[in-house]
Symmetry: D2
Subunit: 361 residues, 4 copies
């Protein structure tokens, strides 16, 4: 069953760069994309599916077994799971699991390469499963169908009841799709010997946000923010959040940001507890390059984390570069791009939910 490439992974058009090329005649043309036009279609039926389940949560075990069994038996698909899943004793106790166990294709994170092997991803659990799926695919990502167990998440619109029916709909194509942009983050480390920057191994894609904060230190160093090479402002406070529109409803909203629909091509920059009263969050076009570094005169260093993981120190002379990745996460909608988003705002953030009050007479 090896396949040359995933059916639906994005074929990026390389129209992006940090510096200004002149696009002939582009100036006066404006293309407005209706988000409803983004839909999923399959050229060939998908054959391989990666199933990701929430770990350390018993309630997910039974749905996981049902789902995997159905995919193998009914849909004749090749199912990939994480290697550790096979060793889970709790799972072995689930009725019927041992039958399907041998048909599962195990993989190990960081060892086995999934690129071009997977046509379709199914997530079972919370928003964390989708963040994890995103981290597995550092280039193009197959379409993801995410089920929540319990209450709706920002990234998990499907409920598990009648999963067969919903999955058949999706596999037959023509579902609405939200292309969730990701940020490509590169840390350039200063070489101690030469004093010049050297490309570091740290290059990560984030789906929610990259956070620069004071880490365990009681004080934040001053942080300098550059846009397309220009110094924009300096940050004094607890830190800075650079987020995707998807991430605008995560940490950024807690820090005071407006909420951005994931289809808007933009990057959000939100300060965390800034000393300045006027430091309102800003939204810049997806096509810019951000650079963040510790101010030369600053006493302390800063700390960087990516979707809440891989926390590391940003020292004097190091810099963090952030651009929009050309590899979004294609996330399948339960209803459509608009309804799904507003449903998750109401459910997860109680957005504008209130009792109706009668006015005083």
């Amino acid at each position: 069953w090896p396949r040359t490439r995933s059916l639906n992974a994005p074929s990026p058009i390389q129209q992006f760069g940090p510096c200004g090329r002149i696009m002939k005649n582009s100036a006066m043309v404006m293309t407005i994309q209706d988000p409803a036009s983004q839909r999923l279609t399959w050229y060939k039926p998908p054959l391989t599916v990666l199933v990701i389940k929430k770990i350390r949560d018993d309630s997910v075990l039974s749905p996981f077994v049902q789902l995997v069994k159905w995919l193998i038996t009914e849909k004749r698909m090749v199912v990939f799971v994480e290697h550790s899943v096979l060793d889970d004793p709790l799972l072995s106790n689930q009725p019927g699991f041992n039958m399907t166990r041998d048909k599962l294709m195990p993989f190990r994170e960081g060892k086995d390469d999934l690129t071009d092997k997977i046509d379709f991803i199914v997530c079972l659990g919370g928003d964390g499963t989708l963040l994890y799926a995103s981290s597995l695919f550092q280039q193009s990502v197959p379409p993801v169908m995410a089920f929540h167990l319990g209450s709706l998440g920002f990234l998990t619109p499907f409920e598990f009841v009648n999963f067969e029916e919903q999955m058949i709909n999706v596999l037959e194509g023509n579902a609405a799709l939200t292309l969730r942009s990701r940020l490509r983050c590169i840390i350039l480390r200063k070489d101690e010997a030469t004093g010049k920057p050297t490309k570091a191994p740290t290059s990560l894609l984030v789906l929610n946000e990259v956070v620069i904060d004071r880490g365990p230190s009681p004080y934040l160093s001053n942080i300098d923010l550059y846009l397309d090479g220009k110094h924009i402002t300096s940050v004094q406070g607890d830190g800075l959040i650079v987020s995707t529109p998807t991430g605008s409803t995560a940490y950024a909203v807690a820090a005071g940001a407006s909420m951005i629909h994931p289809s808007v091509p933009a990057i959000m920059v939100t300060p965390i507890c800034p000393h300045s009263l006027s430091f309102r969050p800003i939204v810049v076009p997806a096509g810019v390059e951000l650079k963040i570094s510790v101010s030369p005169e600053s006493r302390n260093t800063a700390w960087v984390s990516f979707d809440g993981r891989s926390r590391q120190e940003l020292k004097h002379g190091d810099s963090l570069r952030v651009t929009t990745s050309i590899y979004p996460v294609p996330s399948i909608c339960a209803q459509d791009q608009i309804t799904d988003w507003f449903d998750s705002l109401a459910e997860c953030l109680h957005w504008n939910v209130r009792k109706k009050q009668r006015h005083l007479d």
Copy 2:
């Protein structure tokens, strides 16, 4: 000198509609546009120029005369001005104005049609001159070069000193350009006799925002908000602002919105003093259609205004439709899209301007 059409007016590509058409194969492709790629180029040298000056402000008279004289004498351009300008006695007293007076082409707002007659617009004064220029062109707008007199505005990046040099640069082409999207607002009135909606004459393009508020009433009626035909939420409070990214730094920022760079294709929805603590502003894709109406059970009506003008009542049964227009305002940058915007944030909003504090030891 009649010309078939303006040199640089947008030739819109009609890829926009309120309902979801399926774009073949579009789902997995992501195009990220670098804002720096938007630049102005002239195919033929511009011949006709419309000069708009701030009214009731003496300080603008002398620059206006200098500018007009230079355009006519040095650049041999055909200069359009508003008819009322010719009758201004203060202007007649300006030295040298009477020489150029006869060469000016007067027009009357609402009577003379400027479509396809103007290659280039120059504004002299405050942000209001650009809002006025926008209102004159309800379809495609020629490139606008806007001078402030005094301090930098959001929409007026050029300073008047050395205006000749800066203008020559622009006329020779290759200046950075910000395409400022506008909102197309249509009020559908309920026909009293039939009870059915009838298309009303009110169809306006706004550059900043359309505001729905309680007008002179002490209480706002409940307002219903729909997106692509779906009921999203109801508004209780002082009102609602639907703004372009350009307008995010105008009324919306005062109501608590984040600030959006004008190149981001989005629509911002900001409540004014909402009763609900959780009613945070939201940013939706430029391609959606918003509908706003007075809730059927509401006691009062609401009032609508467009870029601060044309205030009118929105009665029960009426509705306001808002979509992104395919006709943006091409606004010429003094430096570039990024620098101009952050300069105006610092100058007009003191964004994150503060004295540096030494930390306590």
Copy 3:
């Protein structure tokens, strides 16, 4: 039954004045009052009761009749009601009302003086009934027991079920009491002839807030704010709210203010949609005097309203003075000062109500 004075109306200690008197030895002494120490006690059993009911709401009729009947028959109290109540035909249809009708003492707002005649007030309906009760007593106010019908209000903590039991508890004394401070607002009008200020008839006490806004005008004039005679700042925006702690959860919270417990002796100043990003709301001590006037260079005037009523124009040369009144509204608690307040925050504002989320693993 005429009585010299109401039993429990505040006997103010006149320790307040706008200018700084030196209090010998006061500097180093700090008295911290536990809000739980504010409790209601009756010296003699209350004899006269004023019952205020929400108007134009049918659901309040039956509770009203039950309550009035019980007060007269069981408690032998003298019951005052508004004159218009007696004429309400809907009320006459209520079973048993005609029996008690003749024993009611009617009064007319603005004609009959209630001062020193009332020992106790009962409100039936929404927060508006308490605002109305407050407006009836421009000097000392008897203790108020306020029932909501439906859901808890900010000012109406009691539910009507078992009203007899709750009322007996209160009449027997020893209930917790929140002293809700009010603001004394005086408008000084400029005399057109002499140009000097003259004391105008407008002197009002507000329980929630006094609002200065642009009224029907599209633009707010500049507003100057003075504290104890010093110019503090100028307001550009939609207006200014000067509120009591009680009012901090009304209009002020919608404009972005923090919420202040009604027992804190303070005045809150909140701008409405200010042009300046750094114009955060402020809280000043209850003992200061505020002065608000239209800036001399301002083009427009402003409008003032008091607890949402009595809207009037504030012209150039006029000024509004605001101080804390020595006559608070003693509002009886259903449980205690702290529990009642947090219950109303949860119920009316959904304060920090959210589903618990499990963290991603």
Copy 4:
């Protein structure tokens, strides 16, 4: 020179307690204190002065020497300084310092007891010097006169030029005084053996705030907040700030709080980046008792810090109790309570500082 007690330290009136005592007759009386009535008077001329200077800052050396010399020579006062100051080699190089060196009274923090020895404190440097002075006096604090060097701080209103004149004014009495309340914070540790709480040595007074946050952990545990023994709410987010009115312009304002004048008797509770959109900051009366603990079901612990220092872990079963201390910091005003505060808001926070804009016509 030993003295029985400091001249001006507060003699607290013990009217405070966490539980509700009934104050006879108190219910209807409202005392409104004019902040202008708080003034400093000396019964006997102050004899002993403690001078605190900013450390590791060369610019403070020369003013320090001038000040100390003048106090000893001209005013014949007994001057206390920290022991380490005498050993500072940089100070020895200052002209004229060696003459006064032998007359200085050294003390060691944590070793020498200053209680009842000091009549008057002078601070030289930034806000940190006043926080340090506050930490030295865990019971009553003598009046503090604080000079800034450079620009105005929140706590340092005096400028050093003409210090002699200003100091003579203060020593002659009759200066305005702001009584800055402090919070008494006690950590009760769970005894591992018995499981019952034991009073821990940690009892600290803070002038700005006590912060409960996630410390070096990437996730905050759930935090439970109690008021006067009642569970009020649970905090999910980055943490919680419990601050004095003085502290409302420090960390709390960065986290979104309104600003409270230091004379208002209140405690401010501000969440840091709360997950809930509706978790607005609240202000409660100074007389309540707050309790904060890690929720039993929470996975992680929390960390507590006091005015930015003494950071320590708060484990499951531990609790933090916070009440208003009866020992405020009497802080001498350069002008008066109102002017000083608004000057510091403008200088330190740029509060509502903006260029005036002309409205568009």
